[in-house]
């Protein structure tokens, strides 16, 4: 045991970056890079000006949803209501803005308010009534989508004004080098920046802390219930912003947002963020979202039969998470195979002391 003296000097950034590549949260960037190379191989046009930024732009909603989900997962919870929030907000935007540009601002404000309300409900039910978030958000999903469809007659009446849709559809033309920059890329960059900033702020660290060990945080005089509730609020706001971008990008439809909660959870987990909370980096979750989207694009370009695509995604998920675990467990497996016969002799003498994590 050599004593390492505490040093305030952090390692130079490149060293830290390279080191982090060997962590789950860092390796996702390698995977993303590899997939982008493959995508460029199938679609040489990707290197053309504007193409890459368009690709980033159209995937921005998923990345934003992943950011929202990250907050909740980091705090040790789930948010299954994100898809329903997106659908509800899309319908809201379609019905309330209509073709009247004057309505845009008030309706955006209303949407954010609705988003916050959903987050508050999710958060309070989970923290104060102690309903597991999986159930809470499943319940709010049903309630929210049921109500939206009931009130709007099953579908939004039509696309909102073009000025509103420009947020998700338009962009800045003729940018040097890049060519076209969709607004959604700017929104994503702003949000990701804000999220990174927020995670470094006291609130972000408390959020992480609550996911890591709620008791410690509670003894420091903070209110875990309020920290968690804010995570749910952030996630609902993220879903709302994603909804605004999606209405802009492709127009209204009640199916917009369907299944996004699972995509978001998958992206976050692929990004090395632990279910159960307290671990993982927010940008890795964003990278996880882009891994999924790049994969979909590759499958499109490669002409893989459309019906097989979910299977490829499923396989990637299982392998990406399973192989590392399998690698660390290979010893245990050997022991298991060897001791197949005897029941009394249980393997792994250190097991009783190991701390088992529960989701």
């Amino acid at each position: 045991m050599t004593t390492i003296r505490y040093t305030t000097n952090r390692l130079p950034f490149p060293t830290r970056a390279i080191r982090s590549l060997s962590t789950p949260g860092g390796a996702i960037y390698l995977l993303l890079l590899a997939l982008l190379v493959i995508l460029a191989f199938y679609n040489p046009g990707l290197s053309e000006p504007g193409q890459l930024s368009r690709f980033i732009g159209r995937s921005a909603p998923i990345a934003i949803v992943a950011i929202g989900q990250y907050f909740v997962i980091a705090a040790g919870e789930f948010d299954l209501s994100m898809g329903a929030v997106i659908s509800a907000q899309v319908v809201l935007a379609g019905n309330l803005i209509g073709q009247d540009p004057a309505q845009i601002l008030p309706v955006i404000v209303l949407m954010i308010v609705v988003g916050i309300a959903v987050g508050v409900v999710n958060g309070l039910l989970t923290t104060l009534l102690r309903v597991p978030s999986f159930i809470t958000t499943l319940g709010t999903t049903l309630i929210l989508s049921g109500f939206t469809f009931y009130l709007t007659g099953g579908a939004p009446s039509g696309n909102p004004a073009d000025a509103f849709r420009a947020i998700g559809r338009g962009g800045i033309q003729n940018v040097p080098v890049i060519g076209f920059v969709p607004y959604s890329v700017l929104v994503l960059i702003a949000l990701a920046g804000a999220a990174v900033w927020l995670m470094r702020r006291p609130f972000g660290r408390m959020l992480m802390g609550v996911g890591d060990n709620q008791s410690t945080i509670a003894l420091l005089g903070a209110a875990p219930w309020w920290i968690r509730t804010r995570a749910f609020i952030l996630s609902s706001i993220a879903a709302t912003i994603a909804a605004i971008l999606m209405v802009g990008y492709a127009g209204v439809s009640p199916v917009v947002g369907q299944g996004y909660e699972f995509i978001a959870i998958t992206a976050v987990v692929l990004g090395g963020v632990a279910l159960g909370g307290g671990r993982g980096a927010i940008l890795s979750a964003v990278a996880g979202a882009y891994v999924l989207e790049t994969l979909v694009a590759i499958l499109n370009f490669a002409g893989v039969e459309s019906t097989w695509r979910p299977a490829v995604q499923g396989a990637i998920i299982v392998l990406a998470l399973g192989l590392p675990l399998l690698w660390t467990k290979r010893k245990a497996f050997k022991i298991l195979l060897r001791r197949k016969a005897s029941t009394a002799k249980t393997p792994n003498p250190t097991a009783p002391q190991s701390i088992t994590e529960k989701p």
Binding site: T141, F149, G314, K329, T346, A351, P359
Partner: protein
């Protein structure tokens, strides 16, 4: 059987009792509401409908209960169910001679998927949520690539089972009840069944007691797959054909999880019972049935379902608060007991 009845009695006194209390209230309220509208909740048609809708979900829920007791989840059930339906109907092709082969193929495939889930969760130790999401996606790829729409044809025997009734009770419901009893027996009468509770409740205690946590995981997931397969067969028996979509159409993944939780189980594992889950399904089915009779707008039905889930679990969470024994409790008068901060997690 006496131990089973004792077991039943025991669980009725515990949180399962709450579930059935809620169920009774729901049924009474339902009967009143329907009666107020000039309809009979207990009409044979309605009872039969209620039981039929309980059957398929019930089979899935039995498996899901095991998996949740273990502390895992099974999101692949809808796809396993569809898989079983297309395989059985495909192999049978309407021929009596293929009856057994069709059933065997479907159940083997379903159990195999369950086993794979079990390996991923129990041995590789991937989070059950993610693992079964992944296998579900893989199966869906297989299904939608190889089957476009309804396929095959049930053998006459299977169709006969699907339509047969004993009084108002469909034979398939009786089959579900048999599965329920078998799994209940498995849980209370086999070591693996008991160990399942232990692994889900506290993995450390299980290991200290010499239990290998992988075994219950493998068994629970395999049974869950197998029962989803049986559910697929029941669907084929009723529809006469297999379909790659029947599972996803029913939304059996989240609905079954919701039913188990409404039945008093906790998602973290180790607590819950088959009988509670049965109560959970019956609560859902009764409310659905009332709403069906009342012709409630389908979207409002969803709202009601969502409310039930949240309210039920909130009620159970209240009941489950831990009380700390007090050394000087006698001295104090009105001071409220307060759990330590750690107890909330």
């Amino acid at each position: 059987m006496s131990t089973i009845s004792k077991d039943l009695k025991n669980s009725l006194l515990s949180s399962t009792g709450t579930v059935y209390l809620v169920l009774i209230l729901v049924v009474i309220a339902g009967a009143c509401i329907t009666a107020a509208n000039g309809r009979n909740f207990f009409a044979p048609g309605n009872i039969s409908d209620l039981l039929t809708s309980t059957t398929v979900l019930g089979l899935v829920v039995i498996g899901q209960t095991l998996v949740i007791l273990l502390g895992s989840l099974d999101l692949s059930v809808p796809f396993v169910l569809s898989l079983s339906s297309v395989l059985s109907a495909g192999v049978m092709a309407g021929q009596s001679t293929n009856f057994a082969a069709g059933i065997a193929t479907a159940l083997l495939a379903a159990a195999a998927v369950g086993l794979v889930n079990g390996v991923l969760v129990g041995l590789v130790k991937i989070n059950g949520f993610i693992a079964t999401l992944g296998t579900g996606l893989i199966i869906s790829g297989y299904l939608f690539t190889n089957y476009r729409g309804t396929t095959g044809k049930a053998s006459p025997e299977l169709t006969a089972i699907g339509t047969a009734t004993l009084g108002v009770i469909p034979v398939t419901t009786i089959g579900m009840a048999v599965c329920l009893v078998i799994v209940a027996l498995f849980l209370s009468k086999t070591r693996t069944g008991l160990h399942l509770y232990a692994v889900g409740g506290d993995a450390n205690v299980a290991t200290m007691s010499g239990i290998r946590s992988a075994v219950p995981a493998l068994v629970a997931h395999t049974i869950s797959g197998l029962l989803a397969g049986v559910a697929g067969l029941v669907i084929v028996s009723r529809l006469g054909v297999g379909s790659p979509e029947v599972g996803t159409q029913g939304g059996y993944d989240l609905l079954s999880i919701a039913a188990v939780v409404v039945g008093g189980a906790i998602l973290a594992g180790g607590k819950g019972s088959i009988w509670g889950s049965l109560g959970g399904i019956l609560i859902f089915a009764s409310i659905d049935s009332v709403m069906g009779i009342m012709q409630v707008n389908p979207y409002l039905k969803e709202v009601v379902r969502g409310l039930i889930i949240i309210v039920a679990v909130a009620v159970y969470a209240r009941r489950n608060q831990i009380k700390i024994p007090a050394r000087f409790a006698a001295i104090q008068k009105a001071a409220p007991t307060r759990p330590t901060n750690g107890a909330t997690r």
